[in-house]
């Protein structure tokens, strides 16, 4: 199983990604997908600008994917993360995990998102509806806590 990892400016199509993953095979029983979308925060935002660290973004998501593949019996794993300006309602990130059974697919997708949030080198900046440039979005300690769920108990 070779994970598919892409960092791109363009939008992505979930159905096409699932079709590519499952084409010509009948051993997949469960596909879990996550899509992260840009919110307008009650109309406050006109866009998010996503900055990333080219090279490391692919490498780091690849390392997270390799961990997921080692941990669950996956038949497919896809992570697509966009950069550049993204408007409210648009898609930012996609994670897809396929397995014979649902538990592995759910856990792997959940794990991927938690680690992508805390380890993938992307930074969001707000553009406000009033035309001004907003601040950099602050990291949530929630996200660190979420990622810690996957670590072995001390």
């Amino acid at each position: 199983m070779i994970p598919v990892i892409r960092i791109q400016r363009e939008d992505f199509d979930l159905s096409a990604e699932i079709a590519a993953l499952s084409a010509g095979r009948a051993d997949i029983g469960a596909v879990v997908s996550f899509i992260g979308l840009c919110r307008d925060e009650q109309g406050r935002l006109s866009a998010l600008e996503l900055e990333h660290y080219p090279g490391m973004a692919e490498a780091e998501i690849g390392r997270v994917a390799a961990e997921a593949a080692a941990r669950w019996p996956l038949m497919g794993l896809v992570a697509v993360h966009r950069y550049g300006p993204i408007r409210p309602g648009e898609q930012i990130v996609l994670v897809l995990a396929a397995s014979a059974h649902r538990r592995a697919a759910f856990e792997a997708a959940d794990f991927m998102m938690d680690y992508l949030k805390t380890r993938a080198p992307f930074w969001k900046r707000e553009h406000r509806s009033d035309g001004t440039l907003g601040g950099w979005v602050e990291a949530k300690t929630d996200d660190d806590d979420a990622a810690k769920r996957w670590e072995p108990a001390p």
Binding site: H52, A59, K117, P121, W123, A139
Partner: protein, 97 residues
């Protein structure tokens, strides 16, 4: 002080420093290539050396623990040895996904 010879302290090595998000804005550069003292052992040593270079670095690293680092595109910690890293990146906590 005998252990540290003048020659050793003046030895340098060349690294590429890259900055992202508000670290980039405060430093005022997206990246730069610098000759750093070869005897800087850890990330913290490098950060303190950078802060002595100017106010822009002072501002970027004002809260040292808030800035994250990657050595050759691998996450590292303040106490991590710099080793032979050629590309050293500084950035805020990630907010992707």
């Amino acid at each position: 002080m005998n252990a540290v010879s003048p020659m050793a302290t003046s030895a340098t090595r060349t690294v590429r420093l890259v900055y992202f998000a508000w670290v980039r804005e405060r430093v005022g550069l997206p990246e730069e290539t610098l000759d750093i003292p070869a005897d800087l052992a850890t990330v913290v040593d490098l950060v303190r050396w950078l802060k002595a270079r100017g106010e822009n670095y002072e501002a970027a690293f004002a809260r040292e623990t808030l800035v994250r680092v990657a050595l050759d595109q691998h996450h590292a910690k303040p106490q991590s040895p710099l080793g032979n890293a050629r590309e050293i990146a500084f950035f805020p906590p990630m907010t992707g996904g």
